[in-house]
């Protein structure tokens, strides 16, 4: 450890740390644009100027190592003046279109201007014009005028994805970010460039102009897209979920996440969801009703069957707590050992893209297998199928995957399962009619990963919490809720939630009552 003094306070920092890292460790604020903890040092923005005692010249904090007894300050007049000027250099050719720019509200330039600037601009000449609204690929749009050429995105494609799509072309103040030979920026991590862009030069095609960031709230969660379990921040408001950003966790995902993972949050929106309980018998039409009521009726239906003929099928896209609750209440209710697990192609499990995305597209495979092993459930899928055809299994409870798109054989397997007399499918997605054989069918709406609390265990065994739940589909329930209904100790909910149709409130039908 090295001792150093930062702004008059003593700190000890590890050897080999740069001054900017020392500032981070000390919790002192230091303006910077081009430095990023996960990328190499470029030293081009020149914002992180500090004064070091005994050195007549100001130094950049990102490329200067701390030495024993170093006295560093960024509060001196010289430093503040230099930062103000560097900010001015950044701004002279930067368009003043914050009202249009999507970064407004979380922009490094705005923040620094509020801290150091607040002066009238000195530049009276026309600004440098560059290309606007350039599509770099399927997901990312570039506005060269807003770019401050910090080269973070270029370094990201060089050092992290190693795909080298981006580069800086031309020289001087004509410099622009671009793609070589118009080869698009289409790697699976392209949206990370948008996250690390300190200004509004790179924007996401999907999120662009949909919301201003100050209308958004943030919630931490875990990406359910694969067994890596990237930590994410979900931006949402009353109108829905708008974007997903990675949350830094050095043990799991570092600073990044893949683009596929970001798309998953969209699928939690009500358009893609099963909103109500559904039931049908034989060739009848589907009936729609409150989930709670339907879940109770489904449980009654299952209880009517011989208890050893009921099976439980679990997929690894739910939380540990849910598995625990459902297995316990299933065990006590049916005294059956027929618990099966259903995963997507296990032959893909070893696949890994070298960065984050893994072939096992379930966020909680470890969690599920752990519970099944502890409980001693060893039944195989072929046993289930033979039991179904022989009639030994007549009732099936399926906790269907939250993202069936990762299960290429989803419809096929569900069709096989629907050979059971009573099928209770707990699912967050609507299920098409043709995917099921006739019989007593119950569809109970499940909550998505954003709407529940719980734990995912990733491929390395890291246990991660999902964070505070949102409410997106009011009628949906978790597997634990269903487990309580199954075991009968559900405290009857007194109030049935109101429908979402345009119902006239009874109170309003008799106007002026009491007045």
């Amino acid at each position: 450890m090295l001792k150093c003094t930062i702004n008059g306070k003593q700190y000890a920092v590890p050897e080999g740390a740069s001054i900017i890292e020392a500032f981070k460790l000390a919790g002192e604020s230091l303006a910077h644009y081009c430095w990023h903890p996960a990328l190499s040092v470029a030293g081009v923005c020149r914002m992180c100027m500090v004064s070091i005692e005994g050195n007549p010249r100001l130094q950049i904090a990102c490329n200067t190592m701390v030495t024993e007894g170093m006295v560093i300050s960024n509060q001196s007049h010289a430093v503040k003046d230099s930062v103000k000027w560097v900010l001015d250099f950044h701004l002279i050719n930067h368009p003043l279109d914050c009202p249009i720019c999507d970064q407004a509200g979380e922009c490094g330039l705005q923040d620094q201007y509020m801290m150091f600037g607040k002066y009238t601009p000195e530049m009276a000449m026309p600004k440098q014009r560059k290309r606007k609204v350039v599509s770099l690929g399927d997901r990312v749009v570039l506005d060269s005028e807003r770019c401050i050429l910090c080269s973070r995105c270029v370094r990201f494609t060089e050092e992290i994805t190693k795909t080298h799509e981006l580069g800086i072309f031309h020289r001087g103040d004509r410099s622009e970010i671009g793609t070589f030979n118009d080869r698009p920026l289409n790697n699976n991590y392209s949206l990370n460039t948008v996250d690390i862009c300190p200004v509004g030069a790179l924007t996401s095609k999907k999120f662009r102009f949909r919301q201003r960031v100050w209308f958004l709230k943030e919630k931490k969660s875990i990406c359910p897209g694969c067994c890596t379990g990237c930590n994410i921040k979900v931006s949402y408001n009353s109108k829905g979920v708008f974007r997903v950003k990675p949350d830094c966790n050095p043990d799991v995902n570092g600073y990044w996440m893949c683009d596929e993972g970001r798309d998953l949050c969209e699928k939690t929106q009500s358009v893609d969801r099963l909103l109500k309980g559904m039931s049908k018998y034989g060739e009848e039409k589907w009936q729609e009703g409150p989930a709670l009521k339907f879940a109770k009726q489904a449980c009654d239906d299952l209880s009517a069957l011989p208890s050893s003929s009921v099976a439980l099928v679990l997929t690894a896209q739910h939380t540990c707590e849910e598995f625990e609750a459902l297995i316990q209440s299933f065990k006590s209710k049916f005294k059956s050992k027929k618990v099966y697990y259903w995963v997507n192609r296990p032959e893909d499990f070893h696949k890994f893209d070298g960065l984050l995305l893994r072939g096992d597209r379930n966020p909680n495979t470890v969690g599920l297998l752990q519970i099944l092993e502890r409980e001693g459930f060893k039944s195989t899928w072929s046993e289930l199928l033979s039991d179904l055809s022989s009639g030994a299994t007549q009732g099936v409870i399926v906790a269907a995957p939250e993202f069936p798109s990762f299960y290429p054989d989803f419809s096929e397997k569900l069709y096989e399962l629907s050979r059971a007399k009573v099928l209770t499918c707990l699912t967050s997605r609507p299920i098409k009619d043709r995917e099921l054989l006739p019989g007593q069918r119950w569809l109970i709406p499940l909550k998505s990963f954003l709407e529940k609390e719980g734990t995912f265990i990733n491929y390395r065994g890291v246990q991660q919490k999902l964070g505070t739940p949102l409410e997106l589909v009011p009628d949906a329930m978790t597997l634990s809720d269903f487990a309580r209904i199954l075991s009968g100790d559900w405290l009857e909910r007194q109030v049935e939630p109101l429908g979402s149709q345009n119902v006239i409130n009874e109170f309003m039908k008799t106007p002026m009552r009491g007045l």
Partner: protein, 173 residues
């Protein structure tokens, strides 16, 4: 409270009536002689001339080509204390315009006519004009959309701003 009138003359109403009529007659004659000092208007034939600073119905100003000036920055919606402004932005074909509102709605029944939207607007796109609220029956007719705010007949094709866009764009603002 009940005032008991025990005296006999209090039951005799004529003097107050006469004095009341005298006042009416006095005002009538005075108004006939000094018509300019009269306080009332013959609404709706006559209309009151409000001060130019009067904050009436909102107007969305337009550019010279007739398209909306609004860039959908949502600062008005942010500033609005009544939360009556709803904007949906979209990508514009022209990269120099980039962003424009495809939906701009003001719920006039929620609006408190404080004028903060006008103050917040960085591009002089929303103003509060001299017109006052139009009567209507169903609730829906009080949610004004782009058509109503920018192109209602009384605006005669839209109000343009004297801020020069060409100049602004040349300077990258």
């Amino acid at each position: 409270m009940i005032i008991e009138r025990d005296r006999a003359e209090s039951a005799w109403y004529l003097p107050p009536i006469v004095s009341g009529l005298m006042l009416t007659l006095h005002k009538m004659i005075k108004n006939l002689l000094h018509r300019k000092e009269m306080l009332t208007l013959n609404y709706p034939e006559e209309k009151f001339e409000y001060s130019p600073r009067f904050r009436g119905n909102h107007v969305l100003t337009v550019k010279k080509d007739g398209s909306l000036r609004c860039t959908a920055c949502m600062l008005c919606a942010t500033a609005c204390p009544a939360e009556c402004i709803t904007i949906e932005a979209s990508e514009h074909q022209d990269p120099s315009v980039e962003k424009y509102p495809i939906k701009y709605e003001i719920d006039m029944l929620r609006c408190v006519f404080c004028g903060l939207c006008e103050e917040a607007c960085p591009v002089d796109a929303i103003r509060m004009g001299p017109e006052w609220q139009r009567p209507g029956t169903p609730t829906d007719s009080f949610i004004y959309g782009i058509q109503e705010l920018a192109y209602r007949p009384s605006l005669k094709g839209g109000i343009t701003s004297d801020v020069d866009d060409q100049e602004r764009h040349r300077y990258g603002i």
